[in-house]
Amino acid sequence: MSYNFKETMSKPERLAPGHRMCAGCGGTIAVRNVLRGLHEGDKAVIGNATGCLEVSTFTYPYTAWEDSYIHNAFENAGATLSGVEGAYKALKKKGKLDATYKFITFGGDGGTYDIGFQSLSGAMERNTDMVYVCYDNGAYMNTGIQRSSATPMYADTTTTPVGSKSNGKPQNRKDLAAIIAAHDIPYVAQTTFIGNFKDLHVKSEKAIYTPGAAFLNIMAPCPRGWRYNTPDIMEICKLGVETCYWPLFEVVDGKWILNYEPKKKLPIEDFLKPQGRFKHLFKKGNEDLIEEFQKEVDRRWEELKFRCSRG
């Protein structure tokens, strides 16, 4: 699939303004650009787990969605869209529906990695013809920055606060993209906001138009939770990729493909430093914590390269 940036940007907007996400939110940047993967003329039903995105984009009676939209609860976005997709198949079979619909669900990392994990796993295992998009901002931001299983190690959150006996979250983050890939579904990809959004766009289009289940994991920074300077979101994403904290890859029919390898891998400090949630790591005496963080990033990066080398 080729990428014509100007044409893509000229497509009609499928997320209307007037929603109530915070200024500078990464979540809606993800949504707008995923929805540009839909072909004009195709309709869609959008699912959404409870979270910032839901409470802010459908605050009665204001919906920001140009397509049909369903929010059900926090933990069941996968199952809910399974039902919608089942209805589509049934109505098609009975000759009650002509139009082509695509099914896309958005969930934050709380609704995806944690409380909605079972429902997501079920929908993926059944190879439901849908795309599940996780906009991963690494904590429960809607309820006020509590840790999730997507929160990186040592992040200062409101349930893993830094204190005299605590360096923030003690555990590593869950590798959800790999877990979903282990469901043996046709398409899994990890991406974020880079340059002209080619990576995110191409992956979204592939995910939407691959028959069967697809999963996109998008790093979508949250200026409140991560405590960086709000206008710097693109720089934060770039550093995530250049430090190999957030590698760009795809798993197509079980085949792992690395989409980008930095010419010179940057040290993890470069990604951590601009973020207030990691401020404590830069205090004198905490050098070993950063070293440990770096080791984990390296270990995962080597593991990913190994998977991709096997094809």
């Binding site: 940007m9 303004p17 500078g24 009676p61 959004f197 693109m234």
Partner: protein, 100 residues
């Protein structure tokens, strides 16, 4: 049939609410003005703009309209003044109001 949300203000009696609180229709949030949230506003300096459009995908609020491959004026009714577009412009064609 699309719901007429002008009848669904906060003083609407219970009988007037839509059944099941569904909203038939789309994009009704345009009627909600989030442009009031911020005092900082981006300013579009058209003569510096090369129409590279790098500012459009980064806007969290869909406030940079594009038509025929060219961007237009900001949607100030909804822009929250986050400043991401300013950083994304390679040509200095966007500044924050009062800030060079």
């Amino acid at each position: 049939m699309a719901a007429d949300i002008t009848k669904l203000g906060v003083k609407a009696p219970w009988k007037d609410l839509t059944e099941g609180m569904v909203i038939a229709g789309a994009g009704t949030s345009r009627d909600f003005n989030t442009g009031e949230w911020s005092t900082d506003k981006p300013v579009f300096i058209e003569e510096k703009c090369k129409q590279c459009l790098l500012c459009t995908p980064v806007c969290p609020d869909s406030c940079i309209p594009v038509e025929g491959g060219k961007r237009g004026e900001f949607d100030y009714d909804h822009c929250k003044g986050c400043g991401i577009c300013v950083k994304s412009c390679p040509f200095g064609a966007i500044t924050m109001e009062g800030v060079e």
